[in-house]
Every structure is written in structure tokens, then in C-alpha cells.
């Protein structure tokens, strides 16, 4: 397993194309998210020059996971789309708080694709550790994320400390929460 980190501009055009194609296959074709995206690519207004990415590749150079990191000093998903998940609090605008989004650890070449809410555990945990470490290296002390409640279960099983910021909101029948991950309380040794 190889992990690639970098901002939007540091990824070459082929890598960006492969990443957004992978995200389309996962989030739109597999998970059924209804997003207005270019044909075959999943990309939105939060993918820009300042956005950071973590990409997991297997030994055959296939993308098997990805994550997106945004500083909350820029517009971000929780602030713009799901602020009600913050239990009445103003979305943070703080250089030490980063948002994790578009997190996936689906191996699209595996025979048995996971269903929504399921995770392939080893890649998931390694990818999450890499993403949190990258955020920490960029000055984050806390990471927030719009997450299905299944992510809380995953984080606790994997030994991460995390908690919800408030009650879930039911979107398309699935409860979503704002999940807070304090980096100082988590061991991110890779």
C-alpha cells in the first residue's frame, strides 16, 4: 500500500482525473449519492488549489482509497451544507481546525464490494491515520467531518478518540453527524 499526499496543484492531471473518477465510482455509482457532477467525475466547489488530498494505491497502482482535507479558514462542506449538525454553534473558522471529507477506502477491484456503511478495515485505518497525520502536520489540532454514524463505530473499534458534535440529521434515510476528532488525544504513528 502506498499513500500519496499533496494539494490540488501538486497532483498531476492524470492523478487528478483518476482520483475524481474513483470518487465518482464510489460515491455516485456505489453509494448512490445524488450529486451534480461532470460525467464520470465526482468533483465539487471544495476541490480547488488549496485542497489537500490523501490517496491510497495498491501494488498495481489502483486507487483503493482517498480523503480530502480543507482548512476551516476556507469555505468547507460542514459550514456550507450541513451547519445544523453543529448543535447551534457557529461553524469554526480556525487554522487549527480542518475538515475531512470524501473519505473512502473501497477497493473497486475487489471481488466483494462493501455495501454502504461498511469498510475494509485495514486500508480504512491506515488511510485515516495518514489523513489525520497530514492534517496535524499542517497545523491541525482538531479534525471535523460530516459522517454517517457508522464512522463513529469504526473510529472507536480502531481505537481513535472521537465524538459527535450534536444529534444526527437524517439525510436520504441515513443519520449523519458532525464528528470531532481531537488530534492531541489520538496516536497517529504510521
Amino acid at each position: 500500500m502506498k499513500f500519496i499526499t499533496g494539494d490540488y496543484t501538486s497532483l498531476n492531471p492524470d492523478m487528478r482525473q483518476a482520483l475524481f473518477s474513483y470518487r465518482h465510482k464510489v460515491f455516485i455509482e456505489q453509494l448512490g449519492w445524488e450529486l451534480d457532477t461532470p460525467e464520470g467525475l465526482e468533483r465539487d466547489q471544495f476541490d480547488h488549489d488549496d485542497t489537500l488530498y490523501v490517496i491510497a494505491k495498491d501494488d498495481q497502482q489502483h486507487i483503493v482509497g482517498c480523503a480530502r482535507l480543507l482548512p476551516t479558514t476556507d469555505p468547507y462542506l460542514l459550514e456550507e451544507v450541513f451547519p445544523e449538525l453543529l448543535n447551534g454553534q457557529t461553524p469554526p473558522k480556525d487554522p487549527s481546525v480542518w475538515e475531512l471529507s470524501r473519505f473512502s477506502a473501497f477497493d473497486l477491484n475487489a471481488n466483494d464490494l462493501p455495501r454502504p456503511g461498511q469498510f475494509s478495515s485495514e486500508v480504512t485505518v491506515d488511510l485515516l491515520k495518514n489523513a489525520l497525520k497530514y492534517a496535524k502536520d499542517c497545523g491541525a489540532t482538531q479534525v471535523i467531518s460530516v459522517s454517517p454514524i457508522g464512522v463513529e463505530r469504526l473510529l472507536r473499534r480502531a481505537g481513535f478518540r472521537a465524538h459527535r458534535a450534536g444529534p444526527p440529521k437524517i439525510i436520504d434515510g441515513y443519520p449523519l453527524i458532525a464528528c470531532i476528532i481531537p488530534l492531541s488525544e489520538n496516536h497517529l504513528q504510521l
Binding site: 454553534q89 455495501r115 472507536r156 465524538h163 459527535r164 450534536g166 444529534p167 434515510g173 441515513y174
Partner: protein, 139 residues
């Protein structure tokens, strides 16, 4: 399903910078919870029939306090049917934004916090609510 109502403000609760609502541990019993949502994990993945008389389904349930800012508590359950009698059993930890403090205003450990909240659920009639809710939801 309970609907969060932002025009009722609970002055006793304040959300900390880290998202937690902190309260003295002795106040836990005063928090009234309403059912928000329950569901089955990936219904298409369930293999409920263990044999002719027993089956098992698992899912989640979510509860909130009466007013804003909301205390949120969720947990998982197994629905086990022996013969004709379905029973719900809570499984695993609770998930919450509530963090209790000791008399000296220090945070309880997360483990102790979760244990106390889980214990408090014994006085909540959650099983019948979840049963009726999922019966309607998946009918």
C-alpha cells in the same frame, strides 16, 4: 420521530469549544430523552433467519434531549426473536456529545462517562419505541 425545535433553549446546557455539552454527573438523571430515529443496518445484508424459530437483526437508535442545545445519545441493538417473542438487546457503547464532570469540575474518563450514560438507559422505555418505529419504517 422527534423534531428538533430551535425556539426552546435550555439555559442549563452550553456547548464547549470541543462540541461536548458538559454537566455535573449528578444532573444526568434530569435529562429527558426523546426518540429521534432508529433503523436497521443495511437491511439487504441482514440474514435474519437462524433457524425456524430464531432470527437476529441489528440496528441503531438515536435519542435527543427536549431543547437546544441538544444532548444526543445513540447506541446499537440486536433484535432477537425466539419463537414469537421479539426482544431488543443493547449492544456495544453509547455514542454521545454529553460529557459529565466530577464534583471538582474535571471531565470523567470517556469510559466512565459512557458507562454512566448506558446505565441511565435502564430507566428509558426504548425497546417498545424502537420496535414500533422500525415496524412502521420497514413495513
Amino acid at each position: 420521530m422527534a423534531t428538533p425545535c430551535n425556539d426552546i433553549i435550555n439555559e442549563q446546557f452550553r456547548v464547549s469549544h470541543d462540541g461536548y455539552i458538559r454537566i455535573p454527573a449528578e444532573k444526568l438523571g434530569s435529562i429527558q430523552l426523546l426518540h429521534l430515529d432508529s433503523g436497521i443496518y443495511s437491511p439487504e445484508d441482514q440474514y435474519p433467519l437462524l433457524d425456524r424459530t430464531r432470527c437476529k437483526i441489528n440496528g441503531y437508535t438515536e435519542w435527543i434531549s427536549l431543547s437546544s442545545p441538544y444532548v444526543s445519545v445513540g447506541w446499537d441493538w440486536d433484535l432477537i426473536i425466539h419463537g414469537t417473542e421479539p426482544d431488543l438487546i443493547k449492544t456495544g457503547d453509547v455514542y454521545t456529545n454529553l460529557l459529565m464532570q466530577s464534583e471538582s469540575n474535571t471531565d470523567l474518563s470517556e469510559r466512565e462517562n459512557r458507562r454512566l450514560i448506558a446505565d441511565s438507559l435502564s430507566s428509558l422505555d426504548w425497546k417498545s419505541k424502537v420496535k414500533s418505529f422500525i415496524t412502521l419504517k420497514y413495513a
